[in-house]
């Protein structure tokens, strides 16, 4: 839960900026950039986990710098786990937000300009409220996905109780040690949290978009 909350808190504002930028600009190589950002959707989690583990290890300047400053390794720490989780969740956060901003008709932005609205006023009063269902989807997907993530977390975070052990890994541990009742309880907890968040998200999204339909 802590990992999911921290990931969401850091990733969502970044995804709003990135998603808006991707939705409103066009440049050479944009398709490649979008492809790179979507890689976590298609790559096996262990592959991403492996590269992140290498990048955070003591043989790279990133790992060495972190170790010098903080006194411990980035890999197998909560900070390392958050970084890995943010990278792995990029497509789940950016894509719904990008699509939401793309869906705003261009003539609304032009109408805002003709009203004399500044860029900031247009963003806060017109674009952000209209993209709200996309932001909600992004938040729910990121949160639920982090809760259930297994491969990357295990590779980068290891399985350190109180530091990098997540519910998903705990379930695996319990099954390995034949504690099926505990595993079942935790699985039910994850299932309930995921179902409730997705249910609320879908409900709100439908309500909001229905309210604005036939613009």
């Amino acid at each position: 839960m802590q990992l999911a909350t921290v990931t969401l808190g850091i990733l969502l504002p970044l995804a709003v900026v990135g998603g808006y930028w991707l939705a409103t600009t066009s440049f050479q190589g944009k398709a490649w950039l979008e492809g790179i950002l979507a890689l976590p959707l298609v790559l096996p989690p262990t592959v991403i986990g492996y590269y992140l583990l290498i990048a955070m290890g003591g043989h790279t300047w990133v790992g060495q710098f972190y170790e010098q400053v903080m006194g411990n390794t980035l890999a197998f720490s909560f900070t390392g786990l958050v970084i890995a989780s943010i990278i792995f969740n990029i497509p789940f956060a950016v894509q719904p937000i990008q699509r939401a901003f793309e869906a705003i008709p261009h003539n609304l932005r032009e109408a805002a300009q003709c009203c004399g609205m500044t860029f900031g006023q247009t963003f806060l009063r017109i674009e952000l409220p209209l993209a709200w269902p996309g932001l909600l989807s992004a938040a729910v997907m990121t949160f639920a996905h982090t809760l259930g993530e297994f491969g990357v977390v295990l590779m980068v975070g290891g399985n350190i109780p109180g530091e990098t052990k997540t519910v998903a890994i705990a379930i695996y541990d319990k099954v390995q040690s034949f504690e099926h009742t505990a595993a079942g309880g935790m699985a039910l907890l994850l299932l309930s949290i995921s179902l409730i968040t997705i249910g609320i998200s879908y409900g709100w999204t439908t309500r909001l978009t229905k309210r604005w339909e036939r613009p």
Binding site: E110, G116, M117, T118, L130, R211, P215
Partner: protein, 363 residues
């Protein structure tokens, strides 16, 4: 105090130079793809042309030679886009207040309500756009456009998605609003009737070019070239030749000779000429024949088609049976004189109604 425009662009093609009079309603009239909306967007500053000068009174809004391009939000313009572009998550009142963000909140609300009142929909202030009809949306868009008291109001085919009766009602309201606001209004339309009813100045456009500009009445009744005649949908377009006989210009049309009023006409090679169907005048059978009739031509009725309160009558001059001349008559006249195919009738083509056309430079 006029709106001066000089716009040149490759895509979309634009080669437009005109001076739009202030405090009047001006029509930008032309078929789809003639560059009307591009001109409106250039005035608003929503798009840049390769070469452009946009100047209102002494204020320059765009000048490509100096690189000046005043951002849209700093231009004193109001825009009603084709599909209104109302903010769907805001009520009618909130939509209007978006144009008044520079004012303090209480003043903003009051001014927005005043604007909704001006277009007679103050009672719908709490409705969202999807709860409004086409005509009501158009009024909200109009209220939003006039809220910041623009010097130039731009209307991009605002009546195209509205039913006929609502449209007629809105025409009257626009004219009333214009009297109240005294703003320069530029109306983009492809509807000839709409332009004739609402505007006092007209720019006729084709393929991004200005074909003719002038007082609406003058443009409609005296198109200057064949291209303008085609854009105004005047079907009576013929070949002829101008000659001076006894200090009087005459137009030779096949075997007929039409007397023209003295003017600037010069003897010429073959010319094209036109006449409005409404200006083909039927000589009443009950009226005795006399010499005062101008350019009488005996014709045979070929076809009669009733079109609303008017009737279109196709005639063949007896001396040129292959030629078709269209006449527009009120339906009551057709009934009174029992106009029917194969009947012979005399029409007169007054010299002042005959439009001898210049050759358009781009044809």
């Amino acid at each position: 105090m006029s709106l001066f425009l000089e716009l040149h662009n490759d895509a979309p093609l634009l080669n437009f130079h005109a001076e739009i009079p202030s405090d009047r309603i001006t029509a930008l009239l032309g078929p789809s793809g003639s560059g009307k909306t591009s001109i409106l967007r250039a005035i608003a500053g929503l798009s840049k042309c390769k070469q452009e000068v946009v100047r209102f009174a002494k204020e320059t809004w765009s000048d490509s030679t100096t690189g000046l391009h005043l951002p849209t939000r700093h231009r004193p313009v109001g825009l009603v886009p084709q599909h209104y572009a109302l903010f769907p998550h805001l009520t009618a009142l909130e939509n209007v207040t978006m144009a008044l963000l520079a004012l303090p909140t209480p003043e903003r609300q009051q001014r927005a309500l005043e604007c909704l009142g001006l277009v007679h929909i103050a009672e719908l202030k709490n409705r969202y756009p999807h709860e409004l009809s086409g005509g009501q949306k158009q009024r909200v868009a109009l209220a939003r456009a006039i809220a910041k008291q623009p010097k130039v109001l731009l209307l991009d085919e605002p009546f195209s998605a509205i039913d006929y009766s609502t449209r007629k009602h809105l025409y009257v309201e626009l004219l009333r609003l214009h009297e109240t606001l005294s703003a320069t209004i530029v109306l983009v339309t492809h509807d000839l009737e709409e332009a004739a009813q609402l505007t006092s100045y007209m720019c006729l456009l084709h393929q991004g070019r200005l074909v003719q500009a002038g007082e609406t009445e003058e443009v409609l009744t005296h198109p200057i070239c064949e291209e303008a005649v085609r854009l105004l949908d005047i079907p009576n377009l013929f070949d002829g030749r101008v000659e001076w006989v006894n200090d009087q210009p005459c137009l030779h049309w096949g075997t007929y000779t039409l007397q023209l009023p003295p003017g600037q006409l010069q003897p010429s090679d073959p010319v094209r000429w036109a006449i409005q169907p409404a200006n083909v005048l039927m000589v009443r059978p009950d009226k005795p024949w006399s010499n005062h009739l101008e350019n009488p031509i005996l014709t045979q009725v070929i076809e009669v088609i009733k079109l609303g309160s008017d009737t279109l009558v196709w005639l063949a001059p007896t001396e040129m049976p292959e030629t078709r001349l269209q006449m527009r008559l009120p339906i009551r006249a057709v009934h009174r004189y029992a106009i029917a195919p194969n009947q012979n009738i005399t029409v007169c083509l007054r010299g002042t109604d005959v439009i001898v056309l210049a050759t358009c430079g781009h044809e």
